[in-house]
Symmetry: D3
Subunit: 319 residues, 6 copies
């Protein structure tokens, strides 16, 4: 993820006591009332380098409408420590003006490579798929969802939760899939590559978009797995393809969470489906662990990581 | 289920010591070898009234081909007791001749009502669905799978596992659904009736057929729930229907097993889906319990019922 | 539950910015201290239409005694929004005077029908019980606990948690039980009706009363199931009744939570006990879902419902 | 348990190849048919020293009636090894004659001490109970069930599954309870001793009797815990005792299995109830482990012990 | 634990409204900021009799360095009630001076007996171990860790979480172990006593020290069980001891948590290991229950006890 | 695994009806008795290509001693089908003579590459470990256990359960570890390679040997994980190495089963430990799946695979 460890001076790099004057994106906005009855606002502000909780103590009625999520603001204030985390006391805040040279894409983290570069790396994998039915279905569905597929995150939080995070995740999985397929040549590369590419494409329906991402009603009611299994069926019908490849490709997507409790109504029953499940896990966990460990000091543990069974990970003192 | 408790003289009504001479259907056939090395065959033979394990001790090479599952035979022999269950020692056995007035449908248990009667009872429910999108999708899919839907069982064993068992189960559920919808008028009848009708239609793809039923590969790899959710998507596309009804109908089917561990990747999130799950359970359990209790004596427990958490049920001594 | 959706102007119908002047019941009262050290009180106030959190910022020593739970007050103040929920800033508050025409029963939600109407609907079911032993035990126990049974809630929260909620729940279950018994005539109505009527009567010992309901020590240490199973034993002894009916009736109550983990030391082993468990569930869930969905907008999800595995339910945009 | 390790020449001490001529009790009898169609009987025969599976190959029709469970027979035959366990090939067998000096009590294992000795050891504990309500209830119930309590086993298998096993278990638990109460003087001895004495008395209703023990219908439908909790309630009523002691004593019995999944609808909520659960466990496990280890050789593991999570235990080579 | 129930006038004995002037130890210190932006500190202060949350409202920059955990302060202020618990409003606070006659050991709770008395009670148990290999390993390891073993707590919270808590726990377990071994003479006392003594010695590496106890990195990464199993292996090597005793002693320690989920990679497979697990549990639970019940009033329940499955325990009204 | 799919004519390649005359190794031998009382033996016979159940119907007393597990025999007989699996009816059988050119290593399956080739592939990985402490410990332990490490299986069944299976598994994991470390350069190769090499070395103590492998008592009581963690501690002491590397290396081994329930008392808390767990799983599962799928026909499912949650895997009809 770009931003982590880069040199740019952003909100993620300020320390307690420093003064801030930055364009930032409002990620979340909540109205509050102090115990003595005066109104205030809590904003989560972000740029590419991180986010911070900010308090606007002297909130007016009009502020609520002015400072909505997904809008850009120019903010001045002081960073101080609140219960071990940085907090920003806002001194000045105003909406960005239309002619100011700043846009949302400047303020949200994104994959390290551009979406064009990533897609260029993905393309050859499609053409390595030799089974024509599998290749055609894969191409058809990628084409159909291309625009969203290039910019969506892979999740609302935890891993690859940034612009183009989905594509970033898929390309990383393809690299790993290729390495594994070379070591275990009995694996069918066609199924494995198509499975990797398609496994999460349903997220472009399940989630609302690349920024301020939430679940859609259809996402909640069906889930990205069911959505994508449906799309494979419809693609096959559209392309006039029948036969085992369709069912097996559906099974790859259907089973990739590995267990019923994790949302796959069928456990993997293909060698390639079993491996897809592992590749997905390894790549997601490496992403989470790298991020969490980048914030920890050598000789210390990370904070508890909820999606990793609430474990804390240790950062060794040697390299 | 027809046959239970009826007066017809069939294999289910013979007692130890009686001599049998009947047409029966071979449900299962296995070759064995005695501990002293001589070959024999174990056949499961059935007619409408039940089934029995039968031993053909003097099996010849040609017998294996002659006595295949799903073929009809004329069998003579003696019933004796083997570990508390009836067993048939075969004295004579031959394939039924083409001109003999017996067919498979005479030998397999089936719903008490004919499939035509059942379907006639089902039809009005479709026309009570007032939402046109829901009604059209339901009719389209019923029409498409009508032939199989009329004769398939609802399962390979446990409940409604007989010819037209699926239809029998659905009609019984509709009756119960209607009663519940009258008591809880906030329930949306359109969703409920359509959900009941469609929830298990995917079984006509998941299972192999009405007799000697096993799982198909697609059934194993995808399951009837996913299969039917796909079909709803394709029906909607075919009919040019868009909108919430499609997703909600898919959700009804998707969630009807109630929990991830039971094969529903989403738990019910519609009031009607929650109720559908209960109706399905009540009807299946009443079917299993009635069958098991019909074999138990008053004052005794049934055998352990695996799909009911291995419980035994008590049959009271009073009525 | 009366009050939901009715036209009466009560606390549940006020919006942010409105001024309130109402009699209300104190449901809960807690003393606090602001971060700057001044004392205040947090009250939960209710009337038939709902409840609201209220802050009394200038609390005096004497207020604590004056404003105790289960007492009636006259309150004036302003409604404002606090973290997405309504809150009342109290401007004036005083205990209700003895001669003011207001009593607790005017301020707590209750079943839609009166307890008399409900009991009248219940009575005929008792007389439909044809087995004299079962009928006599049922009548004896109802008579013994009649007074409390007419006014107790079915639970402290979640479902039927209002005055006469227990009776309301039981009558609703009887209606459903009757419908099911008609569809599945093999069910023994005597056991089913008696089981429905008695299953939760132990709550009149387990819980403290109809208002401000909490668990009693005996309720915590034994639970309503054990309490009622005991009472059946004692009733039978008192009435000189012996025989299977006593044990079966005890088993109906004992097993109605369905599983050990849910507090039934024996799972259902009678067909009627299995069905009682389902009827209890359906009626409780319909009550919870109707209430939660009445607060949600079409096209949105309810809040998370803890007793329904923390699920959110969707309210369709069409009817 | 008497018999284990004693010098008496009984069936438990014979080795492969030896000839047997003994009175034994038929514990179980099953009719079979060989793969070649000839009838035989499998008997489980026992005396105080153990049991053995026996085959009567030339079974006649009349044998089935002659050799019923719980009858005594005189048997001659040869011991041989069958799949690692001893088996008896019966050469001669006949029912014991009325005038032969042998009775069932001579053939079933029993506690090492006589029931009189055990009861004499138990009595003083009752009189150490100083709370009159607790003492009276305990005495009343022991008196009521004295006859059965003196001879019943504590279980049908696994631990203390022999004549007077229940009393043996209770006395052993009292010794342990006394030692613990001395080390932790805050424990209330009245509750602890009464809880130990009464905790399993419900078994005299749950189980069928001291020999050939099976579950009764009431035992299956209610369980010994519920049965005993009922009896405490009725005893208290009979004796005119009211008050907390009754509920606490019921809770002691109710919670002694420790968890809902293990049949206690309430977990222990009294310090003494928690300790009762441990004492019950320790004594039952010591009984099972001593028995299993007495059959194992030093340096080897016991067979898998199902009630101990299927573990195998190691017998050290040193003492 | 000394302090509970003693007469000494300490922080645990003050009531709301009283004025305090005491030496206390800072157990925890957190910086905060009020909703209006002014800094304050929250301190947890303790002496032998208990602890209290204290607020220092007018915190200065230098206070943070001055008032660090594990330092002693002289504090004046008022006790008031905050959400049902006592809180101290600090009026005056200063670090203790080097020449003031107060030290940490005066302010932390500790075992009722001195560590010397406890150790004197422990010693004879070592000499009752007759197996020379087991005795030598036990003595070697005790000697090696003696200093820490005498002062460490048995845990950071929940039970025996005070200075010398570990030794207190072990001695109490030895008393119980002796009583059990006398009742069940088949138990090997050598294994049992050595297992009790060594089972938690690994805590002197797992935890940071007797005061302000936290987990060390090695403690987190390996755990006290693995640490001690290693030490036994190394001790045996050092002492030139080989043979079964070493493995069995390791197994005693390895399995004492009883189950894999609780941190024992092997379940007990020795009778003595099974009993060790129970003794550890009984003693830890008695410690927790005595402490919790000492704070509850007769006729009431304790607060929820997290390490006892979140149960509440009842304190009877009679003794 | 050598043998699967090779051309050699061995027992794994015979079909029903064929006559066999081969040297084979007795893997297992059990004595039986037919239902008519005559003794027989059941042998499991193996060579490099598979194994078969064989019946010796006319067993004599002396046969039991002659035909012991792990001895070589010359066997003649006929292959026939028994319940869907091949069985051998023995016509002639005799122990191999000392001068016959056949040895155990000719008859047991083994890794495809020789142990020398495998070890040569392993060596460079050790020298890629740049941290001297980690490298020295790894080399020390490999050297100490080299002989056994070269020939032991990785398990008694399921995966890599053949001569040199452990080494084969480790080398395959190293290849995969290298590929992953290249894709995720933040991984510490020293920890990862050392963890892979050492993770299962404890099996050389846990298991009895390369042929006829069973668990040793120490293996049962401690397990290979604990054994190896001990050895790392002792190696470090021997080599005079202190510091974090020792603890981290122990943690790698300790946590490699991933969860407490699977025998790791600590879950992975190092990024490299998490990845080690995945690499171990992928390699073990590929081994099991390749073996199971090699026996299945295209278009069919494998048999149920117990260590893969009892799943069946599908073998596609296309490549």
């Amino acid at each position: 993820m770009k931003g982590i460890g880069t040199e740019m001076k952003g909100i993620g790099t300020y320390k307690t006591g420093e003064r801030v004057d930055l364009f930032m994106l409002i990620k979340q906005a909540t109205k509050g009332i102090t115990t003595t009855g005066s109104p205030f606002m809590t904003l989560i502000l972000q740029d590419k380098t991180g986010d911070i909780e900010a308090k606007l103590w002297d909130a007016k009625e009009e502020h609520e409408k002015m400072f909505q999520p997904a809008s850009i603001v120019r903010v001045g204030g002081d960073v101080h420590d609140y219960r071990g985390r940085n907090q920003l006391r806002i001194k000045s805040i105003r909406p960005a003006k239309p002619d100011e040279p700043i846009q949302i894409s400047d303020l949200v983290p994104s994959a390290e490579k551009s979406k064009e570069e990533l897609y260029e790396e993905l393309s050859p994998y499609i053409f390595e798929i030799t089974n024509p039915n599998i290749q055609r279905i894969t191409r058809y569905l990628l084409k159909q969802h291309r625009e969203a597929f290039l910019v969506y995150p892979a999740a609302t939080k935890n891993h690859h939760d940034y612009v183009s995070g989905l594509l970033d995740h898929v390309v990383s999985m393809l690299r790993l899939g290729k390495a594994i397929a070379e070591l275990y040549p009995s694996l069918n590369k066609d199924l494995l590559y198509a499975g990797i590419i398609l496994h999460d494409v349903g997220k472009v329906v399940e989630l609302s978009g690349p920024v301020g991402t939430v679940y859609t009603p259809a996402g909640n009611l069906l889930g990205h797995i069911t959505i994508m299994v449906n799309e494979i069926a419809m693609a096959a019908k559209e392309l006039g393809i029948e036969g085992e490849e369709v069912v097996l490709l559906q099974h790859m997507v259907l089973s990739h969470h590995g267990k019923e409790e994790w949302g796959s109504p069928k456990r993997p029953m293909l060698k390639e489906a079993e491996i897809l499940h592992y590749i997905d896990n390894i790549d997601a966990k490496m992403n989470m662990l790298n991020r969490a460990l980048s914030k920890a000091e050598p000789g210390e543990f990370t904070e508890r990581l909820f999606p990793l069974d609430n474990r804390q990970f240790y950062k060794p003192t040697f390299e």
